[in-house]
């Protein structure tokens, strides 16, 4: 298991100068697709299914 799921929040590690965000993907590029799980049904869902018929607005987050 990598340290993606950290046990302890560290400001310097968790809030870097946004480099990964800035350099990950750009407006105008194709959005990458991933298989996710629908919380309500437990079924797999392709992220790309959200934008198949129209635009999609995707908020990332967690309870904490």
């Amino acid at each position: 298991m990598t340290d993606y799921n950290y046990k302890d929040f560290e400001m310097a590690r968790e809030m870097p100068p946004f480099d990964e965000f800035r350099n990950s993907l750009f407006v105008g590029e194709k959005a990458p697709d991933f298989e996710l799980e629908d919380l309500d049904t437990g079924q797999p869902v392709q992220l790309s299914s959200l934008w198949k018929s129209g635009p999609a607005i995707i908020e990332f987050g967690s309870f904490t």
Binding site: F9, L25, E29, E59, F63
Partner: protein, 159 residues
């Protein structure tokens, strides 16, 4: 997070064939009550607790435990992205500011509607944006996560 406001936005845009979703990532501020995930069951449990607490109406989609999607999209804790029909990235927000998201969406859709008639062509730009800071809500969230979440954030901030 602006959960209710984003739900309201999703409801307003639903009749324009816009799909909205909440993509569940790692815990940004894990604590004794809501721990970091080591399994998908951990993630499901925390996501269900979030769904019950926040009454979020949008579908919640779970990333893998390793955060494959979250990492590809830039790994920040509360981003919002708008993807156009067919999969082109229209907007990427480092945080979620509902007004900014709605403004970006409306600007894009207006351009699409006028594109042929007014001979519009898209171009890339970046701009500074604002969001409302809800310190009370944020602190309540840390306390809800547990004492460790509070101390991790405030002791770390002091350093």
């Amino acid at each position: 997070m602006a959960t209710e406001a984003m739900d309201d936005l999703a409801a307003r845009l639903a009749d324009r064939t816009v799909r909205s979703a909440f993509l569940y990532t790692r815990e940004a501020h894990p604590g004794e009550n809501y721990r970091h995930h080591t399994t998908m069951d951990d993630k499901r449990a925390n996501a269900k607790a979030y769904q019950a607490h926040s009454s979020v109406k949008r579908p919640i989609l779970l990333d893998t435990v390793e955060g494959d999607c979250h990492q590809a999209y830039g790994i920040l804790p509360n981003m919002t992205w708008i993807i156009g029909r067919g999969g082109i990235i229209i907007y990427k927000g480092a945080w979620t500011g509902v007004e900014d998201v709605e403004d970006a969406f409306n600007s894009y859709m207006e351009g699409k509607e006028r594109q042929i008639k007014d001979q519009l062509v898209p171009f890339y730009s970046e701009r500074f944006s604002w969001r409302t800071r809800n310190e009370e809500g944020f602190n309540a969230g840390l306390e809800r996560a547990g004492p460790q979440a509070v101390s991790d954030f405030y002791l770390d901030k002091k350093d």
